[in-house]
């Protein structure tokens, strides 16, 4: 680099750039927070309602059983098993179908096939998980995924 471009100029670009773009990022984050209520289905989450409680419970079960370690949810997670952000739609808008699938996993897997564990959930727990997956499918994801197959 030429002599006219000094180290202190480089330093100033670093500090100035970092601060400026971080503040811009915070401003965009603030704006995102303003826009989210229209997209993120937060009205469903009201913990005074039964649906809200089920979703909260479903998310906790989702996390405490590490479903994300095999599946993607809205495209994030692991790539070993199907996308679940839209599984509610793929299963014909049916919570019952989701519950039946999770419930019917064989204890020892399926020979030669990628297998999902049998978690021994109660009916109430299955209901919560299905409610959570339904909620996920209703988030406005700008038209993603491109196909129903996830």
């Amino acid at each position: 680099m030429s002599q006219t471009f000094t180290k202190s100029m480089a330093r100033n670009i670093f500090y100035g750039g970092a601060v400026f773009f971080f503040l811009l990022f915070l401003a965009l984050t603030f704006d995102t927070h303003q826009a989210l209520p229209k997209r993120d289905q937060r009205h469903l989450l009201d913990s005074a309602t039964e649906v809200g409680q089920r979703i909260a419970k479903g998310k906790a079960l989702w996390e405490e059983n590490n479903c994300i370690g095999c599946h993607t949810l809205l495209g994030e997670g692991a790539y070993f098993a199907p996308e679940l952000g839209n599984v509610y739609v793929r299963f014909g808008n049916s919570k019952e179908a989701i519950k039946a699938f999770i419930k019917s996993r064989p204890e020892n897997g399926i020979t030669g096939r990628r297998s999902m564990p049998q978690f021994h959930f109660s009916d109430e727990e299955l209901d919560a998980l299905a409610e959570f997956l339904k909620y996920a499918s209703e988030i406005d994801t700008s038209g993603w995924p491109p196909s129903k197959q996830g």
């Binding site: 180290k7 750039g17 970092a18 965009l28 996390e63 405490e64 479903c67 495209g75 790539y79 197959q149």
Partner: protein
Amino acid sequence: MKYQSQAVAKPYFIAAIALFVAQILFGLIMGLQYVVGDFLFPEIPFNVARMVHTNALIVWLLMAFMGAAYYLVPEESERELAMPWLATLMFWVFLVAAGLTVAGYLLVPYSSLAKITGNEFFPTMGREFLEQPTITKVGIVIVALAFLANIGLTILKGRKTVVSLVLLIGLTGLAVFFLFAFYNPTNLVLDKYYWWWVVHLWVEGVWELILGSILAFVLIKTTGVDREVIEKWLYIIIAMTLITGIIGTGHHYYWIGTPEYWQLWGSIFSAMEPIPFFMMTVFAFNMVNKRRRNHPNKAAVLWALGTAVMAFLGAGVWGFLHTLAPVNYYTHGTQITAAHGHMAFYGAYVMINLTIISYAMPILNGREANSPRSQVLEMWSFWLMTISMVFITLFLTAAGILQVYLQRFSDNPLPFMVVQEKIAIFYWLREFTGLVFLIGLILYIWSFFAAAKDAKAGVGAEPTGAAA
């Protein structure tokens, strides 16, 4: 070794490499489960193997960063480490916490681990890369704070160089952004939004500062090029990192419920993220070409150049490949992501740590460089691991392109599981290549034992020469 307290780095480096081995072994287990679905099921389900693979990766990278800091900060500050005892204590705390956590993953079902550790009272578990029990996360914060205090104090009391300052900023950012791991609302969109403040702002933000400063340090030491020149480069590289990388977070905000303007912001800024990686490559080659000495540790110089090239390929090129919103619409969450994740992590963060370990370990063992035979072994390991990673990336990219086409793009999209069977050949190829990677890693470790043996027998490195 100029300062006694630099020696605290050694256990960090050794533990890092041990965890690296564990990481790769579990990678191979998963690689096999990809094609032989019920392999080790239900004893080690895929998600458990994955947690061990990715968490071992993160922990060993953090360990090696800490070792690197403990090694280079005293030398840059021209004084002993403020509290060497604390560094040693924290090493054991960190190692035990990591060991217990991995044991927890492997020995009890994840939901039991959540129960035992009281996740319901402060839920942070069960999100990708952040699977650790809350108590482990608290442990990580404590270790990080003690570590920052230690090197911060050392820097404050000693000579302040750009290299150590940038390292300190990077490490502080690492600790600060990790705090978002504790934020976990029921609102899935907000959860995901701030999850990226840990993951993206780490690897495409503050970790790049750490990477740049370690690279600058090794280049100063091995090339003898004027510090002023190197520091100017360092500043401009990390300036570009943050200018592009912070708003570049937007490339993760396309399809998770966030507003659509992120498609524009994210695409524009993340498309410029390869620039700092490209500059790093130019920088490293320039400095080595302008070298004023030939350092006897040729392996370390090879690792340094390799880091610059592979970080550019993995993060810059493979990142760019899927970062524009219209492309990402199709590739989001496919094997394309996995391909990029592997080469980027390997090229940038695995390789920079192997660089500093390669440079520092001989010195920590009382010699400037290892014997020629040991260095030849190490260079073999460099090529084996690096070329395997290139092929792993290529195979996953091929799998990803087919997956996108068959599952998302064709007129008649097929179900996920059907597509996976159709592209199984690429997973087999990845698995075989992974075995070659493991051989490379074994050679790498072997080279240290060869060096120790040669040193005992009195075989030294080739003498230092003037640059040709």
